[in-house]
């Protein structure tokens, strides 16, 4: 990680290029809805990883941003009748504002308390979502139309929708990539490694944490709003704490604090859930729990982290 010219870092642009090309041709080989689901969760996990992997803050309430943005986007598109890009923008902004609110409260504490506060705040959003009429309660917002992008391009076509989702994902990923590789990102890492030292160097740590939190929340919201359009549904399960736990698992399994880890983790978990849903039914939760336990006990670097370590050990440079 710390050697700037390590294999993983120097070959990263190449690897990203290859992944980009794969992303472009993938919908012709794999069912597009499945791919879109992966991309939405991958963006969600990348946004979450920005906070946990690079600032060291474990948010256990990221479902609040995913779900709220989904509801806002769904309401705007279905009930107000705006075009999809405006709906996604509205969802993203709403999640960013919520992130600003939650972030300013949660960063008053660190570590375990930070996790509990974000979880509790997200649970409050869940209760509100059940109670207020606009979210449709248990039914959620159904029949959200995908509409026409910029009023022109019909998104009811799955391939067109896929490229929109892919573009949104790339945009979100680019923002995260730039954030991490900027001086701002270096300060975030400094806070993660040694917070008192960052304070003594004169950095306003609270402000940096808050900005990172807002970026993370807004991007999680962008994923949620996009997901609502893909599935034409905004539901209660997206604000439930299970969704918050899922994104932690995706990040952990893929590789905490790695750029590509959350994508790999999200793809693995979504594929696994899709596969398992047919064969084992309600045991999915148990299997997710088992993966969680295994990851924590003996696979803490995650898939990408292990691969990086493997490459480093074998001496390729």
């Amino acid at each position: 990680m710390n050697a700037p010219a390590s294999f993983a870092e120097s070959k990263l642009p190449l690897l990203l290029g290859v992944l980009f090309v794969i992303g472009l041709i993938a919908p012709f080989a794999v069912y597009p809805t499945f791919l879109m689901k992966i991309l939405c969760y991958a963006l969600f996990a990348c946004a979450f990883n920005l906070l946990l992997g690079f600032v060291g803050l474990l948010s256990f309430g990221h479902a609040a941003f995913l779900g709220t943005a989904g509801y806002v986007c769904g309401m705007m598109v279905r009930d107000v009748g705006v075009t999809p890009e405006v709906g996604i923008l509205a969802g993203t902004v709403a999640a960013g504002l919520l992130g600003w609110l939650f972030g300013s409260l949660a960063i008053k504490r660190t570590g375990i308390y930070f996790a509990m506060i974000t979880l509790a705040l997200a649970q409050m959003v869940f209760f509100l979502a059940i109670q207020i009429k606009q979210t449709g309660g248990e039914d959620g917002l159904q029949g959200v139309p995908r509409g026409h992008l910029f009023g022109l391009l019909d998104l009811s076509d799955n391939i067109a929708m896929y490229y929109l989702v892919f573009a949104i994902f790339c945009f979100g990923f680019f923002i995260i990539y730039r954030t991490i590789h900027s001086p701002f990102g270096q300060i975030l890492k400094a806070i993660r490694e040694n917070e008192p030292r960052a304070i003594s160097l004169g950095y306003d740590v609270a402000k940096f944490k808050l900005i990172a939190f807002i970026i993370s929340a807004a991007l999680a919201g962008m994923a949620g709003a996009t997901k609502t359009l893909v599935f034409q549904l905004a539901s209660l399960s997206d604000v439930h704490w299970h969704a918050s736990g899922e994104v932690v698992l995706m990040t952990l399994l893929g590789g905490l604090g790695t750029i590509l880890g959350p994508i790999v983790g999200a793809a693995t978990i979504v594929a696994l859930q899709t596969q398992l849903a047919d064969s084992v039914g309600s045991w999915v939760t148990v299997i997710m729990g088992v993966i969680f336990v295994i990851c924590v006990l003996s696979f803490r670097r995650g898939i990408v982290g292990e691969l990086q370590a493997l490459i480093k050990r074998s001496g390729v440079n």
Binding site: L105, M116, A120, T285, V286, M288, L297
Partner: protein, 293 residues
């Protein structure tokens, strides 16, 4: 009889419900605080262990005809033993790492427990009959008090204050407090700290299971009963701060009462009032009411 246009019977019964919820908050946050004190982890599967306590009692009664009174002792022991195994086999490997890994591990365990019970028993919930000795109720004049509910409050308060006494006034408690301050030093003085840690985790888990057995006749015995409760308890813990045993007990009871009161005045807000109080406390006193910053 009415106070501010609210009938005393309604007020009384909602405050009673609040006090009962408060006793559960108190036992659960007490367990979390004890575990956190020595192990430095937040036991995310506390809610699942509470649920398991209720299910062990229910299975014991319906499958084996074992009475409530036996279950009240046996269920915490069984679930506590499971806790001891978890500590010995898994948590022990994580003490040298970031404390967040303990949270993640117990979260995974909570998913496993909940998933297994949901697969076995569904989510509709099972009812558990109030034991004969405690059925019926008494008329207090201004309200009707079901005896079992009175018993729940008495039993949980006894356990809470018993635990407080054990920690603050006995030799074992002194070891425990010393271990919380500086476990390496306590170990150097010849006290078996790993055993103390195992015992502490087992005891905290047993407390959760005890609350589960108490809850079984009041609420539906349901695989999800714990996860709904535990997040509120997390908010309670943030409000109280985990620094003080008595603090967790009082915060738990107080918040239960406030929740009950809210249900009378403005029912729609009752599910979020604890979270709102958490926000206010974070703004005014971030370390929590009884916390040391």
């Amino acid at each position: 009889m009415e106070i501010f246009g609210i009938s005393t019977a309604l007020l009384g019964s909602q405050l009673l419900v609040g006090l009962i919820n408060g006793s559960f908050y108190a036992i659960l946050s007490l367990g979390l605080a004890i575990i956190f004190g020595l192990l430095n982890i937040i036991n995310f599967c506390h809610g699942a262990q509470y649920m398991m306590g209720a299910f062990v009692a229910w299975i014991a009664l319906t499958r084996f005809g074992i009475s409530y009174w036996v279950a009240l002792i046996a269920a915490p022991l069984i679930v506590g033993l499971v806790g001891v195994l978890i500590e010995r086999l898994m948590l022990r490997r994580l003490y040298k790492l970031d404390h967040l890994y303990g949270l993640l591990l117990t979260f995974g365990l909570a998913l496993i427990f909940e998933g297994i019970f949901r697969d076995q028993f569904g989510i509709s919930g099972e009812s558990y009959e109030v034991p004969e000795l405690l059925s019926g109720g008494v008329n207090l004049g201004f309200m009707f008090l079901p005896i079992y509910r009175g018993w729940v409050i008495i039993a949980s308060l006894t356990v809470c204050f018993g635990t407080w006494y054990m920690i603050e006034r006995t030799k074992l408690g002194a070891y425990l407090r010393a271990g919380t301050e500086n476990s390496a030093m306590v170990q150097a003085l010849g006290i078996n700290v790993p055993l103390l840690i195992t015992f502490t985790y087992g005891y905290g888990v047993a407390l959760a299971a005890f609350a589960g057995v108490l809850a079984a006749p009041i609420f539906q015995v349901n695989p999800l009963m714990g996860s709904n409760l535990i997040i509120v308890v997390f908010a309670v813990v943030v409000i109280g701060g985990m620094g003080s045993i008595m603090g967790s007990i009082l915060t738990g009871l107080g918040l239960g009462l406030i929740e009950g009161l809210t249900r009378v005045i403005y029912p729609e807000a009752s599910s979020v009032v604890v979270f709102v109080i958490m926000v206010i406390v974070l703004l005014l006193r971030p370390a929590g009411l009884f916390g040391k910053s």
